[in-house]
């Protein structure tokens, strides 16, 4: 039976609600459950999974909707009660003032500044349509906004960034997943060694990959400033990357600067390079998938992240740790590579490398010349690279770096297809990420190998992490090796190994 409970005018963040849904789905007798804001998108999802009840249909977008299908009425009721308790309890943290009084969490940025007058960052991860207003207020109050939210319009982004320049502040975002500032990880980020390499990146997991490659090679970073994925478009003009470049140029702890992005608008790229030439420090430019250029003056160019990390490390007397030579089998003709990524920048780099190596036919849900668009992202075929963080996969679901369920299902589904020869997987560690991404995937990996008694399925993996991250990088890699998965120290190495397998 199905029961519904509606909490009117009650807001809780999407990740918290998804976690509550996940935990009540594990309760006895519960067959299906959803806990979400009653937005049109979420109602569609309920309809798709067969639990859109009449009460749910009339709920409004600012209501929390709890819907449970269970074997009995008692089990439904128990799940609804558990969900409601989780929603209402423990939401607000109270702390004691020095004189012993409790206080309520502040409800406005102004009030928050009363408690923390020296706040310099506002980390904004509300639904996109509200992000502009909060970021605008933050700028008015002299606080730098880091906007994790996406679905902020181009016009809003431009308005915020122009205002930031006038006020001597920086907008990190929108759609900015990672910053590592003075050692603090904001959003997703890795616990890496401090050192002299600074990063400005329009690519979240790209920043993480660079920071981890540098750390694992003995190097360290000063700061990693995220600009948001659209910063180097013609409409935005690289405003935040230019500010980040200037910040690191002035920063005494930074001796070499890494700029990372997907291919930029040509005029924007030229403008950024012109400013980079004026910096009295080496600048390594990695515009993933962009045209290779010869080095000039203080500028060096790399088209992959491992090469970029190596160039930066060499300026500090180090080099990237050399990959172990991996023994790989050849792929039988007519069989295919399926790369299932949680990190968008890692997926992009993979697609670029496959394209450059002439891997064909090549499909993806990422737009890139030389790769065809998948008609249905849920149905990969031929050689496919999937970015599972794309909007089409994250409706009603947390990002795959937080919630691995969708990818686990896809691992099994792809393994079951006789023409899948190789699966490529990334596992991203650090703050904000899943506490045990490999552990969460192990049942799916075991099932994948079991589905292929012919023994011709290979699974390759790259764990993007630092040995000082909360998740224990070594233990994560060990689990993969014990499960029969081959691991690689960089994303590019993993992709190159797959290419060698294909080309014999």
């Amino acid at each position: 039976m199905i029961q519904t409970r509606v909490k009117e005018n009650f807001y809780q963040d999407s990740v918290k609600l998804m976690r509550i849904a996940s935990s009540i789905r594990n309760m006895e007798g519960v067959e299906e459950a959803s806990v979400s804001m009653a937005t049109p998108t979420n109602l569609e999802l309920l309809e798709r999974i067969g639990i859109l009840t009449p009460e749910a249909q009339v709920a409004s977008p600012d209501d929390i909707l709890i819907v449970v299908r269970a074997a009995s009425e008692e089990q439904c009721h128990a799940a609804l009660e558990a969900a409601e308790t989780a929603i209402c309890g423990g939401g607000e943290r109270v702390a004691l003032e020095e004189d012993g009084d409790t206080f309520q969490a502040p409800k406005s940025l102004e009030r928050a500044l009363d408690y923390m007058p020296e706040a310099n960052i506002a980390l904004i991860s509300v639904p996109g349509k509200y992000a502009f207003s909060l970021a605008d207020q933050a700028l008015d109050l002299g606080v730098n906004p880091m906007i994790f939210s996406d679905n902020v319009s181009v016009e809003e982004e431009r308005t915020l960034k122009k205002k930031a320049v006038e006020k001597g502040l920086i907008v990190m975002g929108p759609d900015c997943g990672t910053c590592i500032l003075d050692g603090a990880c904001l959003g997703f980020g890795n616990q890496v060694r401090r050192g002299p390499i600074g990063i400005v990146g329009a690519a979240g997991t790209g920043i993480q990959e660079l920071a981890c490659l540098i750390h694992q090679s003995g190097g360290g970073i000063s700061h990693a400033i995220g600009t948001g994925g659209r910063d180097l478009s013609r409409d935005i003009g690289g405003i935040s990357m230019l500010q980040g470049l200037e910040c690191l140029a002035r920063d005494e702890s930074t001796q070499v600067i890494l700029l990372l992005s997907k291919p930029a608008d040509p005029a924007v790229a030229d403008h950024i390079l012109e400013r980079a030439r004026q910096v009295a420090k080496p600048v390594i430019v990695c515009f993933l998938g962009g045209k290779r250029r010869p080095d000039e003056g203080n500028l060096q160019f790399a088209d992959t992240m491992d090469l970029a990390a190596d160039l930066a490390l060499r300026h500090t007397g180090l080099t990237i740790t050399a990959p172990e030579s991996a023994k790989t089998d050849s792929i039988v003709e007519g069989k295919h590579i399926r790369a299932l990524y949680t990190g968008g920048s890692l997926a992009y780099e993979a697609l670029y490398l496959f394209r450059e190596a002439g891997v064909a036919p090549l499909f993806s849900n990422i737009h890139m010349d030389g790769a065809a668009e998948l008609a249905d992202p849920m149905r990969p075929h031929d050689h496919t690279v999937l970015d599972l963080g794309d909007d089409v996969f994250t409706v009603g679901r947390a990002h795959p770096m937080i919630n691995p369920e969708l990818r686990n299902d896809m691992i099994a589904a792809q393994a079951a297809e006789a023409d899948t020869a190789v699966l490529l997987l990334d596992f991203v560690l650090g703050y904000g990420c899943h506490p045990d991404p490999v552990g969460a995937a192990l049942p799916a990996l075991e099932k994948a190998f079991a589905l292929r008694p012919d023994g011709r399925l290979r699974i390759l993996a790259h764990v993007c992490g630092a040995d000082s991250d909360p998740q224990d990088l070594c233990a994560q890699e060990e689990k993969l090796l014990r499960a029969g998965v081959q691991t690689f120290r960089s994303n590019a190495d993993m992709v190159r190994a797959a290419i060698r397998m294909l080309h014999g």
Binding site: D13, P61, N120, I121, L123, L181, A184
Partner: protein, 59 residues
Amino acid sequence: MDITHKIQVINVGLEFFRDELERQEIPVVHLDWHPPAQGNSAVLQLLKQLRGTKKEAQP
């Protein structure tokens, strides 16, 4: 723009970002934020206009 020293964060939105900053012992205050105008677009639009008027009126 000092984002290179003494990071202190106001967190608005996902609570677990606040939790992760606390794990790192980074000073953070979490806003008890709710959608303004209870998500009502028409009222939201009016509030935006009022806010614009208020800013213009300031010297």
